[in-house]
Symmetry: C2
Subunit: 248 residues, 2 copies
């Protein structure tokens, strides 16, 4: 016995049927599912995204996100991690689902629904992996178009990154383990596309308690070197605000 979705029929029936019997979904109702990864990096004080060249004729010379089909026996997160591992060689990577894009004609190969993830990696840590010139780190703010609906996916992922980075200490994944406050500020300025006051920025981060002063200095900088810090995630605890601000 098979289960079918009833697009215009009675929902109760189909829900009950789907729930009621432990059986397979009809093949005709299945859809190709892919994962696309928006891999952010940070280099030369710019926020970058890792893209692969599309050689599809229709998208000639366009770049696209890194994606692959999800295996029916594979977790979604596992699929995203697999792509990251294959692409960057990195295993322990900040990874977060953005949302799912399901436009009917978004992919020329037919109906392919894709789950977007973004991840934050330190470019230095896998620099050697990109020998392939099909892959390239692009400045996020220079990208005007991509293959398929990937520009839209990038835009929404970038917006989500900007929001999340202000609420959670994720951005540190983009930096080397030891970093100066200037590097940290450059990172935030790149992500949020804004300039900040240095004194206020430092005040803010010192007030939080998870920057560890390493008592080391930057090396090989052509000016007075800054102190180096470490990020200690263990010290981070989400604040609980008394007043729930309503702000729109």
């Amino acid at each position: 016995m098979h289960i079918s979705s009833t697009k215009n029929g009675d929902l109760i029936a189909s829900v009950k049927t789907l729930s009621a019997v432990q059986t397979e979904v009809k093949s005709i109702n299945r859809i190709a599912l892919s994962v696309d990864c928006v891999i952010f990096g940070f280099d030369e004080n710019k926020l970058k995204v890792l893209l692969i060249r599309s050689d599809l004729k229709k998208f000639h010379e366009k770049w696209s996100l890194l994606g692959d089909l999800v295996d029916p026996k594979e977790e979604l997160d596992a699929a995203a991690n697999r792509i990251l591992k294959q692409r960057t060689g990195l295993d322990d990577v900040y990874l977060e689902q953005v949302r799912t894009f399901g436009g009917i004609n978004r992919h020329p190969a037919g109906r392919v629904v894709t789950v977007a993830y973004y991840s934050l990696i330190n470019i230095q840590h896998h620099k050697l992996k990109i020998l392939d010139n099909e892959l390239h780190w692009h400045d996020v703010n220079d990208i005007t178009e991509l293959a398929f609906d990937h520009k839209q996916i990038l835009d929404i992922s970038y917006e989500q990154l900007q929001r999340r980075v202000q609420e959670h200490p994720l951005a540190f994944s983009l930096l080397p383990k030891k970093f100066s406050l200037r590097e940290l500020q450059n990172l935030y300025e790149a992500i949020l596309d804004t300039k900040m006051d240095r004194r206020n920025f430092r005040k803010k981060f010192f007030a939080m308690d998870f920057l560890i002063d390493l008592n080391q200095m930057e090396q090989d900088v052509p000016h007075r070197p800054g102190k180096l810090y470490n990020f200690n995630y263990n010290k981070y605890e989400k604040k609980k605000k008394k007043w729930i601000g309503i702000d729109f």
Copy 2:
């Protein structure tokens, strides 16, 4: 010619193949896709969610979200809207994707990846539709378990609602067109599960410019009636903050 995903193989190959040729994805790589709707309502000063009784043996007596399979020719948003229309009779409803849940064993019928949506509706507007006692409005805070992974979906949707409601004026969808400030505050207190100061709350909302004083009073209340207001979405414009707050 078909395209296959190569779970452990070379990603470049599979991506290129998927991009390169306009052809169908192999049937074996397709996955059942469903949409589950977390339909929020507001009644008796409580935040409610609309649930359907699951009659699956394994989930005997458990409640579940309203969902259905996505038709391969159907947009994701369209599928969610279809469920809402069938369930509540309402067409113009606030609807937002939450995220996708793809656990391998989340559904007893096999691999079913589900895209969660939440929506906000005014319970009064479709009260007559729920004659079916398979459907019931539950207090969100009373729910301890649901069928499948629906409790997790509910929790994450609820968290997203709480976040969004503080940044965008969505909550008005849950109220009648005319409402008093007390009703508005009760709503926010229910959603955010907190108590607020009445004077500060009023100050906050009057400072924004989209509450229209209707010069009407509440009727049939057993106390001094409050003024009635209207929400004017047109007057809402997202503020642009100078300083990008980093707050975690």
